[in-house]
């Protein structure tokens, strides 16, 4: 069963074509890595999938629930706001720069959407949030404010905030790019631990070794197109396309 299907997505900003017909499918429990040079449209693709941008053409569905369809005549039709509100519950997004709410304590960042968006029971929300925080090694930070945390801790909180919503699929847009090198490890470790729980994830990353180790499927994007896709062994081990090879030489000289 596919949790997410992005079909033939096109998106332009003015005259700049950023996505030129992208198809990506994500099966339940699968970890998909999206790699590619800067400006290739990776973030834009995640932003379209998470409803932060609208597409110009194509289809998006979560578990068969359509976000947007395009008629044969090319008319783009988004679902009703009520449907989109429901569909939002299927996904979570972890941002490059965390985007925690600075005026909320760590625990409040996590429980506020549970209580005020998902209308969950307060006690239960607190219990869930505390359990997740301890699992991520943040139990003693529950009452801290974001500015009191390191970047790595902030990113782990933002992962907890997304996880607590119990999404079907979790997107990551370069979750370690804003961190000092010595802090990336702790965040990658947390993400790796989620793969063991079979969390469905789509990860945009420049950490090639990480992608190679955790992903079930890798998409290489360049210039608004998926140039190559396959298992990590296929894409990293024996890339078929010249563009992939050149990219891997530049970004992951240590990769085999």
């Amino acid at each position: 069963m596919n949790v997410l299907e992005l079909t033939n997505i096109r998106k332009s900003f003015g005259s700049l074509e950023v996505l030129r017909g992208i198809t990506v499918t994500v099966a339940k429990g699968e970890v998909v890595a999206i790699i590619g040079p800067s400006g290739s449209g990776k973030s834009t693709l995640l932003r379209c999938a998470t409803l932060l941008e609208t597409v110009d053409e194509g289809e998006i569905n979560y578990l068969g629930d359509y976000v947007v369809r395009t008629s044969p005549e090319g008319r783009v039709q988004y679902s009703s706001p009520a449907d989109l509100k429901r569909i939002r519950r299927y996904f979570g997004l972890v941002f490059q720069n965390f985007n925690l709410f600075p005026h909320y304590s760590v625990i409040k960042n996590v429980i506020d959407p549970l209580i005020h968006v998902q209308k969950r029971d307060k006690e239960e929300a607190y219990a869930d949030a505390r359990a997740l925080l301890s699992k991520m090694g943040l139990a003693d930070k529950a009452d801290s404010y974001p500015y009191q945390l390191s970047g790595g801790q902030q990113q782990r909180v933002s992962i907890v905030r997304a996880l607590a919503m119990k999404p079907e699929v979790l997107f990551f847009d370069e979750p370690t790019s804003a961190l000092d090198p010595e802090l990336t490890g702790e965040v990658l470790k947390v993400i790796r631990s989620l793969t063991e729980e079979h969390m469905t994830m789509v990860i945009v990353t420049h950490e090639m070794q990480f992608a190679q180790h955790v992903a079930d499927k890798v998409y290489f994007m360049d210039d608004g197109l998926v140039v190559e896709q396959g298992t990590p062994d296929e894409v990293f081990g024996k890339p078929q396309e010249e563009r992939t090879r050149r990219f891997l030489e530049r970004y992951a000289p240590t990769a085999p």
Partner: protein, 237 residues
Amino acid sequence: MSLETIIIQLAVGLLKSIAIFALTLIGSLPLGLFVAFGRMSKWAPLKGLAPAGSGRLRKGLAGFRPLQTLVKLYISLMRGTPLMLQLMVVYFGPYYLFKIPIGQNYRFTAVIIGFVLNYAAYFAEIYRSGIESMPVGQYEAASVLGYSRPQTFFKIILPQVIKRILPSITNEVITLVKDTSLAFAISYSEMFTLARKISSSQSTLVPFVVAGIFYYLFNLIMAYVMERAEKSLGYFR
């Protein structure tokens, strides 16, 4: 007239100054937020007029934002003309324009209307600068988490905006304490109007000195209150 009598009379005036001050804030702080929304409105009812490749006139009409334009005009009038003049327009306007007789009670009402309209314009620009300075990531995180638009604004954005704009609000509050004296333009008997009256009838400057001290103390208190407010928001960054 003894110093004591002067102080007592001016203290009565001070209470009226405080009433102007308090009612102006109560009215203009919320009103300013609505004005800011209007100022940021992107509503363009003629948007459909300009398909790609249409002429300059159609593009101009299509981009026309009536609410934003109207609110911009209001703000520029409020900030571009003297408050004293605005008070006179509010007070005498109904009579000169519509021949509505002015009752004795209307004087105070006119003062409040004039001050609220004027300060709402200034507060609106402060709110707007605060709202526009918010990083877009806060809206995006809220959207992905499923917060509705009102929730996003009131729970996520506004508390952060208030922290950012509090120093500018403090400036306006200090100015307002002194501006209450402009009510003398329509002879409302607040402290400054009284000081002038006593001074000219008794030929002495003492009332002005006393009034000055009162204004200064009033402002010291307000500065302290605002400092406390800023400190109370110091728990986050």
